[in-house]
């Protein structure tokens, strides 16, 4: 057993893990954060995507010991104070999920993507989602949702900027 520390969704966890345990299993089995799903355990389907120090990572291809000291965000960490993240809300409104199994991975991928590219084209969204597989939706509504979320996030940050601007001016 190796002792590691993970900061998950803002909470610090110290734990003993076997060197071979996958990060996905540690999140799911030990921290009971079962929102991160295992779809293929080969890094293809993307259902297990989490943010590892802000970058999307396949938790099924990451050994927990290598994440020692890392800051991790899972799907459970997206909503804040009972408020859905704009990307979650957009997935809901656009019917971007059916069975919901792949959804956490898509959400985490989209969160990171929109931080990098807040005003993407539809083609760019599809490209960004190309590492995640969905068997139910045919992707179209997921792309719609990311488009909607991008718009909402831009409007939100526009509001913030105008508030900041007015504060400075005032």
């Amino acid at each position: 057993m190796v002792s590691i520390t993970l900061r998950v969704n803002g909470t610090v966890h110290q734990m003993d893990v076997e060197p071979r345990w996958l990060l996905a299993d540690v999140l799911r089995e030990h921290l009971k954060l079962t929102g991160t799903h295992l779809g293929c355990e080969q890094g293809v389907c993307g259902a297990c995507t989490v943010l590892l120090n802000g970058q999307p990572a396949r938790s099924c291809l990451t050994l927990a010991v290598t994440a020692d000291g890392a800051d991790i965000t899972t799907v459970e960490g997206l909503a804040q104070n009972g408020q859905l993240h704009p990307i979650q809300d957009a997935f809901w409104q656009e019917h971007a999920l059916q069975c919901g199994f792949c959804t956490p991975g898509f959400l985490m991928t989209a969160v990171h993507f929109l931080q990098d590219n807040p005003d993407p084209t539809r083609a760019e969204i599809k490209e960004a989602l190309s590492g995640n597989l969905c068997r139910c939706t045919g992707y179209q509504h997921i792309v719609n949702a990311v488009e909607r979320a991008a718009k909402n996030l831009r409007e939100k940050s526009g509001e913030k900027e105008s508030i900041q601007t007015s504060t400075v001016e005032g």
Binding site: V44, C45, Q88, C99, G100, C136, G138, H141
Partner: protein, 758 residues
């Protein structure tokens, strides 16, 4: 006073299911964790056909953290046949022979899956390999018979004849012949199959959490195998991560986990992984058809003759149903006065077939649509004109296709096809196609029609009850796997009870909540459970009025129900809403109104429509792109257009997978060689276009709600329409495609093979 009544049915509202799922709070089988549970792993056969000589488990048994290593050599109970796979059921664990790669031989129970897999590596099994039978041509010869006690590899033969059958070919001016094939595909839901069970010694009852499409049928199978009183077996389907038909059947893991949880009186969970999903989950589609179409000079179909062989795999598993349903769909939406169909289901050393989304509908339509293309080409006729000539017309309804029990009943097939042609703008496309060709780009147009036959057998029920908080709870045995039934059925109930949606709660997939159920497959749930709500809801309301009468101290006949309120006009009684009714009934210690209603119907529904696709083919790489895909779709009364669109789009994209990429391939030893997402390609976000959907809503005449199925409309003509389009792109070369999927490799071969051309 008249007001426009606002209904919930017809509104594309977001789903009530989603808030949990988008926050990672949905509970799937793999998320269930009983304290102290053991993980099950399986040692599966590496051979397609072999005799088991010896199973050595000592080393595995000694590994720390391992609780049991189980083989049917010494566990006779586990030699029992799986229920529901007659006449050739496999044992729960193979013990004398194995008949497909992936068949479970040894089960391991350990503290966790890591240890269980370590132990699996330590199990030593000696096999004597036998000659594998890996295709129907060999299997039909019966030189090696998989099940000697059965005597032949032909599991099932059935023929269907209408009119003069084969004789009618003599009346044709032309007889068009082709051999058309479909490869094997695998459903590959994103959630692999899984099951967890907990035995309670005190009550002697077994709780099973099961990724199944039918909790009641699972309960029946489990209680049969375990020889338990069914009243002591409870099956719950929590969230299910996609089903597509293949989570519906009888599998070894189902009875193994249940049996072992009871035997050891210890909670056990098996969460299949992706490799197991490729090896052990039943597959579909693989068929070879030898077709003849008799046709007049003007393009009118005279007769259709088809002899086909379905590669069923090693055990029944539901494959015969697929083969028969293929026959039912071979007429498509066309008038075929005479036909003769010979349908063989043949066993090979592969994992069994079972219904996968479409379940014969795509196969039947693939054949009729492709042979019509072929006929048009050989007659020098337009592929559109031949279809217009033969489509069932509105004046033909009710139209009996000649297949037992199939009577098309609604819509306007020619007009809908014409609408598609207008939307696609075929003449403008032909101009573009010529211009593109001049620039070295090959474009092709594919068109296909379909009928989506849904429901038409059995029953589905709803248990209504007034909950303590005043909400109306509806429990149904039809368990969804992502379709959004909790929303759609609540919409139907909200209209039935004239109440806000929030006051309805739909409970799916729990055998404790409703006595009987068949399950969700074949696009039947809204048709069956939806109508159970429409009809049974009125009976429940009657019971609620009786309850209200008691509280209001009036006669039941005095109670009027209107928009969520019970009142007794003309009396001094106050009025009650459901919440007040619930609290007053509890205060008075009266029972809450409850009612169970089952909707039985043998009347199928007939949605229909057509697909148009434009493909762009790169001649150098054989890559096929899809710039445009249009669907005109009739789904009867659509409860929630947002969800219906999701079903159709999702179906189309799955269909694009089986038309363009997906094929389970086996080598000459019966070894599957496409057992990961790296080798078996699912469509991804980049490879699929946005699907344009145009709805036509012809109410189903055969059920009160007017609903039709929508889950399969997207996938039915997908293989036909894509192959048609790719051929069209190479019309000048007379390209002929006889095999789906049309992968780049197959297209390259077809382009460079003389016999592939006219």
């Amino acid at each position: 006073m008249t007001t426009t009544k606002e209904t919930w049915v017809g509104r594309g509202i977001p789903r009530v299911e989603d808030p949990r799922l988008i926050q990672g709070l949905g509970e799937y089988v793999s998320d269930i964790h009983f304290p102290g549970q053991w993980a099950m792993a399986l040692v599966r056969s590496p051979h397609a056909h072999a005799r088991i000589l010896e199973v050595r488990t000592d080393a595995a048994r000694k590994l720390s953290g391992v609780h049991a290593v189980i083989s049917a050599v010494d566990w006779e109970d586990l030699r029992q046949p799986l229920p529901d796979m007659k006449p050739l059921s496999p044992p729960a664990l193979a013990y004398e022979r194995v008949l497909y790669v992936g068949q479970p031989v040894v089960a391991i129970l350990a503290d966790d899956r890591y240890i269980a897999e370590d132990a699996a590596d330590l199990v030593e099994i000696s096999y004597q390999p036998l000659t594998p039978v890996v295709n129907v041509e060999d299997a039909r010869q019966d030189s090696v018979v998989l099940h000697p006690e059965f005597g032949t590899n032909i599991l099932d033969y059935v023929n269907f004849v209408s009119g003069d059958g084969q004789e009618a070919l003599k009346e044709a001016d032309h007889v068009i012949s082709a051999t058309l094939q479909m490869g094997r595909v695998s459903a590959q839901a994103m959630e692999p199959r899984g099951i967890a069970a907990l035995f309670d010694e005190k009550t002697q009852s077994l709780m099973v959490y099961h990724a199944t499409q039918s909790v009641h049928r699972a309960k029946e199978r489990i209680s049969t195998f375990l020889q338990m009183d069914p009243n002591h077996v409870h099956v719950i389907a929590p969230e299910i991560g996609g089903g597509f038909g293949v989570k519906n059947g009888s599998y070894p893991e189902e009875v193994l986990v249940s049996y072992l949880a009871k035997y050891f009186a210890h909670p056990i969970k098996w969460s299949g992984d992706r490799f197991e999903e490729f090896l052990g989950t039943y597959q579909e589609r693989e068929q070879t058809h030898h077709v003849q179409l008799g046709i007049k000079n003007d393009g009118r179909i005279v007769a259709f003759v088809d002899t086909y062989y379905q590669d069923n795999g090693a055990y029944p598993g539901g494959g015969v149903l697929v083969a028969h349903n293929t026959a039912r769909n071979l007429m498509g939406p066309y008038r075929i006065p005479h036909f003769a169909i010979h349908c063989y289901t043949v066993m090979t050393n592969k994992v069994p077939q079972t219904p996968y989304r479409g379940a014969g509908r795509p196969q039947g339509h693939y054949i009729i649509e492709r042979i019509m293309d072929r006929a048009a080409d050989e007659l020098g006729m337009d592929r559109i004109a031949i279809r217009m000539k033969n489509l069932v017309r509105p004046q033909d309804f009710p139209y009996a296709t000649g297949f037992p029990g199939v009577v098309y009943d609604s819509g306007d097939y020619p007009q809908t096809f014409q609408d598609l042609l207008d939307i696609v703008d075929v003449s403008a496309f032909r101009v573009r196609q010529q211009q593109a060709r001049a620039q070295g780009i090959r474009l092709g147009l594919g068109l296909a029609n379909y009928v989506e036959i849904s429901a038409g057998f059995g029953f589905e029920g709803v248990h209504f009850r007034l909950a303590a908080d005043g909400r109306i709870e509806l429990a149904t045995g039809a368990t969804g796997q992502g379709q959004g039934h909790r929303t759609a059925l609540a919409q139907i109930a909200a209209d039935t009870f004239e109440m806000p949606l929030e006051q309805i709660a739909v409970v799916e997939g729990d055998t404790r909540r409703i006595d009987k159920g068949i399950g969700t497959f074949g696009s039947r749930t809204v048709i069956m459970a939806g109508n159970a709500i429409v009809i049974g809801g009125q009976e429940f309301l009657e019971k609620a009025r009786e309850a209200a009468a008691k509280i209001l101290d009036v006669k039941t006949t005095d109670v009027v129900y209107h928009q969520g309120t019970f009142s007794a006009p003309g009396t001094s009684a106050k009025s009650l809403d459901w919440t007040l009714l619930a609290s007053e009934l509890q205060r008075a210690s009266h029972s809450m109104p409850a009612h169970e209603y089952y909707f039985y119907s043998n009347t199928a529904t007939y949605g229909f429509g057509c697909h148009g696709v434009i493909v762009e083919v790169n001649e150098k790489t054989s890559e096929i792109r899809i710039p445009r895909y249009v669907v005109v779709h009739d789904g009867g009364v659509v409860v929630n257009p947002l969800l219906a669109n999701g079903q159709v789009i999702g179906g189309v994209v799955q269909g694009l997978g089986s038309a363009l990429y997906e094929e389970m391939r086996f080598n000459e030893n019966g070894q599957p060689i496409t057992t990961s997402f790296l080798a078996y390609h699912l469509p991804g976000a980049v490879s699929v276009p946005d699907i344009e959907i145009h709805h036509r809503n012809y109410r189903a005449p055969g059920n009160p709600g007017g609903y039709k199925g929508v889950g399969e409309a997207g996938i039915i003509p997908s293989q036909a329409v894509i192959l048609s389009a790719v051929e069209d792109a190479f019309r000048d070369q007379g390209l002929r495609l006889n095999y789906a999927p049309i992968t780049p490799g197959r297209l390259f071969q077809a382009m460079h093979r003389e016999e592939a051309k006219l």
